[in-house]
């Protein structure tokens, strides 16, 4: 399994910045869809997942700055306290940078067990900020979003990998 993962890694094309921006915008769009009720509860945080993916595979391109900026945008869109998601996402990036070398040894399906705690920690950070500001804990269902998010991880990685393997112009390297 590990060797396979490494092989897949070799074939991937260097990623273009515009491509990263596009995927992040798409993730943001998915976050903005009118989710309500139970759907909202289990909605994976697409922005967090995309940030994680880029941060693990291309840490030079996506790092703290990008994550923090997108966190601010999410804060404004969700009408939460400014800096809440920004903080959670920078925590996410930190954990990703620490764990990425280890994660590269595993296949995407095994990486789920790395992604789940990372997402849980960032959700916990948001929860603590909310509780500090006077909110009440809404129940363990709150953490479902991390679970669905980590379950989505293999699908997401496969999707990104497929797109990265495509060579738009064979004459170009």
């Amino acid at each position: 399994m590990p060797s396979q993962a490494a092989k897949a890694q070799d074939i991937l094309l260097p990623v273009r910045t515009s491509y990263i921006v596009l995927t992040l915008a798409l993730a943001f769009f998915l976050n903005l869809l009118p989710w309500t009720g139970f759907g909202l509860l289990i909605r994976p945080d697409f922005v967090a997942l995309t940030l994680l993916y880029w941060c693990i595979h291309w840490p030079r391109k996506v790092g703290f700055g990008t994550a923090w900026g997108f966190g601010l945008l999410v804060d404004v869109a969700d009408a939460t306290l400014l800096g809440e998601h920004a903080f959670a996402y920078s925590l996410l990036v930190y954990l990703a940078i620490i764990l990425r070398r280890r994660m590269m040894l595993f296949s995407a399906r095994e990486q789920v067990w790395h992604i789940l705690p990372i997402l849980l920690v960032s959700q916990l950070a948001i929860l603590l900020i909310k509780v500090y500001n006077g909110a009440e804990f809404i129940g363990w269902g709150y953490f479902l979003s991390s679970v669905t998010g980590s379950l989505l991880w293999p699908v997401l990685s496969a999707l990104f990998a497929i797109l990265l393997r495509l060579k738009p112009d064979p004459d170009q390297i």
């Binding site: 976050n31 903005l32 009118p34 923090w68 601010l72 009408a79 400014l82 903080f87 930190y94």
Partner: protein
Amino acid sequence: MDTQLPPLFKRGPTPLTRLVFFTLLSLLLFVTDARFKYLDTFRLSLSVIIYPLQKLATAPGLILDRASDFFATHSYLADENARLKQQNLLNAAQLQRYQALEEENNRLRRLLKARDGFQGNAALAEILYSGRDLFSRRIVIDKGRQDDVKPGEAVVDDTGVIGQVTRAFPFVSEVTLITDKEQTVPVEVVRNGLRAVVFGAGEAGELELRYMPVNVDIQTGDELITSGIDGTYPHGLPVGVVSKIERNAAYAFARIFCTPNAGVDKHRQVIVLLSQTQFPENMAAEPVPQTRGKAKKARRGN
């Protein structure tokens, strides 16, 4: 192994340093956003950036809505038409009565030289989406500062109060629903005129009347309307109906639950009451300096 290599490439500060830096930056934002209101313009400009995406994200839902409208069956439409006609008739009758009453009321008020009640404009707004924050109950509507919506204005639907505008951006505004945990509405019991404050319970379809003594004269089924003494909500808008009362002599206060009248979580269209009534700033605290200033001016004038 890798980490022991000499640094061939300049990599900048370590991840931990960066994390600390960004954490401090976030903390700074928390404090300024929560305690001082300096960041409103910042939030405003960011909201303009994401507005196109927001609008786009609501499109699939709208298309679905329209598609289902398009495929509505004939019998359903006929039914609805009949129902609406009947409703319209009823409304027309009530409206006539209402107009007569308003006329009479205005005359009486003028006689009393009282302040005219709410006569402001209203704007019809559409709900773009309900808030994605699981901890609060908010909605975002498609009218903003461009349409004269200001923070603090009341939002109603055809059956009662829905909430209050808490932030107004250029094209959209955030409305905190009355069911939000931090939202309060001053109300009055229709039956006996008792004034109270109703709090959101943080859950859909539930409100709570707090700090009422155990022996308070409130019954299940009592209707609550806005009392209008806060200067935010005009007087007389229906808010809710008392649904359950728990009187326990062991506690100082009775627990009174209400159901909101308006379909707080239901409709797509709402009405923003654009307030035009000007209340003197902080009536309780400032009369003394004001009169002093006026007196001085008057003296200077003389």
